[in-house]
Symmetry: D2
């Protein structure tokens, strides 16, 4: 299991979000409160879009040690500003601790990260891999269930219709799991982005999904907390989605409901129900 | 702060001691109960003497990630048998996470490992380094207070009289600390060995030392627990010294008293009071 | 491309073979003479059987940096003695530098290592993976062509008849390659062992295979070089197979002929022609 | 020994300088032509100032493996634009391969990198360390001669007068070396910067200094090579200083003369003779 964070809004020094908060993601790497594991020290990753479009793809820094003592992450956080970034800390459920198993994963302009697991993945790894578009298969670099979920979603049209593609992926995983006698095959909170919008999903076959929260509207928070400097510096469009609240500012955090997904986008954000396709 | 373990006795597969116990050192790397930090994931090391004297020195495997997911440590534990070995898991108190800062440290046939800290080390690093024998100074490879403690002990005759040398080192550290206005400069549980005997010290300026335990005599444990298979396989001379008990076998673990040191050696082991020299 | 070495014979400190020779494998990691690449710095591995059967499997130490500066490899070489070991240094042909892509690979008591490549592997990775026994598929941990070759050989009966299984694997790879329009799909020197015997293969579709040498019979070498101390210490059964000669002792090294394989075994070793199956 | 590169001028994607040239620094990490070692695979570093002053310090990414296969370096190069950056690839002369031994080193706004060595450094490490300002001593994190040279230069006023401070450092090193009977104690090409100006020194006690080149004036190159697109995009102030030419564009590269130093700065750059102080 893992913890993650997605930021979208006013271009921000990564440090402000990754290290500064009381219960920051870095703090969660040592002391997660809501995760399955207290420690998330089996690799980490951060992916960001630059303010000026240097390239077509987001930058991704991934490594295999814990985030809490990684100096390169500290350097990037202190010197990189971004309007949209993902960060992820990993607690391996058994697969190798290697750079290619650290999130986020990338395909072109798209990034993907996941907390959760496919129960019984070892049993159905092969058949799930076979469902990946043959043109994409050879690009799989790691051995996690998460990366296979990403490639399945790409296969089912992630780049055209993310919610439909994720629903198709979830349907396929649940059917494969149940064919193997796994009662609750899927456990996921996941985020995808194309650099413009962020989609965040919370779902589990058991309907006991891992925690997921989104930050309240900035205007609302400013009224509640006129003294919080940070809120004055960010635009109304700024939004965070996180595995765990980064602090305890009253009114700041809202649980993403069970079996639903949210879209962070230009204009009003939105929340929708989520169900695997063809269930 | 850190956790460590010293084993001396019947040649044993490292796995038996490092991984198999309920609350093994590997488990402590994620879930320390008595340590200052729950997580000890900032590097680790294991040093062992071979059964046949391949070389004059113990072998040392050290790495910078957590012990709990390290595959090379797992391999060594599964395939190496040793009559005397040290293992250490590190929680950095700020210095860099690098191989040369992982314990145990080695000098010829000697190994050294430490849990604790010199309070205000940054302030007195230079003057403590100056007290190291100039012939040894250039061999210091890392930046920890622990390694400087080792080199000070070597300077003060560790290879001739370990308790006197450690006492001299502790005295020097306390005087340096107090000169800088540090009330309680030294906190240490440490172990040294020449491959024949193991000396284990528990001391702190504040007289609130980190936890340290030694295993009971094997004969006694056999009488108490005639059904424990492990006890039948090991000689009467077998002894463990550990930061935390590896399990909760009644009667198995005894606290090393405050301000004292023990010697594990051929024949009867012994326990003595410890005080810094020239205090 | 890569370089490798297989040793079988009198139990030997790894250092004697890995570091001591003038043009040792460690030297080849920086200065390969016969390899496609001068530098082999993209990870390494060493796998050894213990003298006393600690476990059913060989020990494997693998890491991601260069061999030439790796301290843990140096420690193992200085302190481990083995009657049969493999060592491998990697020059990536593009796939990720990660522990699971370093050789040797292991399955139960078996080890496997490879130098060469499947030309166009990216194109046919999926179909080759599909030919792997479904019961084995989920154990694939890395992303190299070499590991897929290993799993194909396992699928085709490596544990029962290594030469037939490797021939079947080679046949499958060549047919897949040619179906994709690749003229010379396979380039390989590879070694497999069960801890008792070593099989070493030299083959390429183009019949221009990478270099492979075997050491002369120890009796012969002793007559030629009565002054070489090393030769007095080793049994007549001792044999080395290497990508490049480890030195220039006259008469010591013999090229494994194109399209052939050798078996190092108790009793007389043997050399046979090799051809892919069903070609 | 090592190779390095300093860039100052029009803000540039790091990739353009680090990877794109025919004989780029990344290529030099595998195939150095003018270095003492062909391979520079013992760690690397890149340090850059951001275009917008995010913080008072440059960002530094350092790692312990080779540069040529490092994915995080590739990501940074593809996504970071900077008006002034240093890059360094290391070939260890014996000291540990660890992050704190990779260049560039940093102190506040200052960066420092070095190619060369202090001959007999092991002998005089202690006395050179003693000459470091006690207020700075405890900040030394690694074990290289290079870092001690940096701290000596800081001690002697690097932040006020870099050429005088480097001359003082060089003088101290030469005197210490000669006192130990070392004929030619110092070999160095080094670069320092405060983010505005770059000072690059070429000197050796033997007057056979490692190679160092600076790029010709951009206006001159534009006239010589009106077809080279790169030259149209960069300002007249743009300058590169490199251990080895990055390609063979006629007229592009000029050797820094023996025993001299150059200053890259707003306005006209300048070249001066260099000699150790108090020699």
């Amino acid at each position: 299991m893992c913890r993650w964070l997605a930021y979208s809004g006013t271009p921000m020094l990564l440090d402000t979000i990754l290290y500064k908060p009381v219960h920051s993601l870095i703090d969660q790497s040592l002391h997660s409160k809501l995760g399955v594991e207290t420690t998330n020290g089996d690799g980490f990753g951060v992916g960001w879009y630059t303010e000026t479009e240097e390239t077509d793809t987001p930058a991704i820094l991934r490594d295999i040690g814990p985030a809490w003592n990684n100096r390169n992450l500290r350097e990037i956080a202190d010197h990189v500003r971004s309007p949209l970034f993902f960060a992820h800390i990993r607690a391996s459920t058994g697969t190798a601790v290697q750079q290619t198993n650290s999130h986020p994963f990338r395909h072109g302009r798209w990034m993907f990260m996941h907390n959760g697991a496919i129960a019984g993945f070892h049993l159905m790894r092969r058949e799930l891999c076979l469902l990946v578009d043959p043109a994409l298969f050879a690009d799989i670099e790691g051995t996690t269930d998460s990366e296979v979920m990403f490639y399945l979603a790409l296969t089912f049209g992630l780049e055209e219709d993310p919610p439909a593609a994720v629903a198709a992926m979830a349907g396929v995983v649940e059917r494969a799991g149940r064919a193997h006698g796994v009662e609750f095959p899927l456990q996921m909170t996941l985020a995808v982005t194309d650099g413009e919008r962020v989609w965040a999903f919370r779902y589990s076959s058991e309907r006991k999904s891992r925690s997921l929260f989104y930050s309240s509207r900035v205007e609302t928070l400013r009224r509640l907390h006129p003294d919080v400097a940070f809120l004055k510096d960010v635009s109304d469009e700024t939004r965070l989605i996180v595995s765990e609240p980064l602090g305890d500012l009253p009114g700041a955090w809202n649980e993403v409901p069970e079996s639903s997904y949210g879209v962070v986008q230009p204009g009003a954000d939105a929340l929708f129900p989520f169900a695997p396709a063809g269930a």
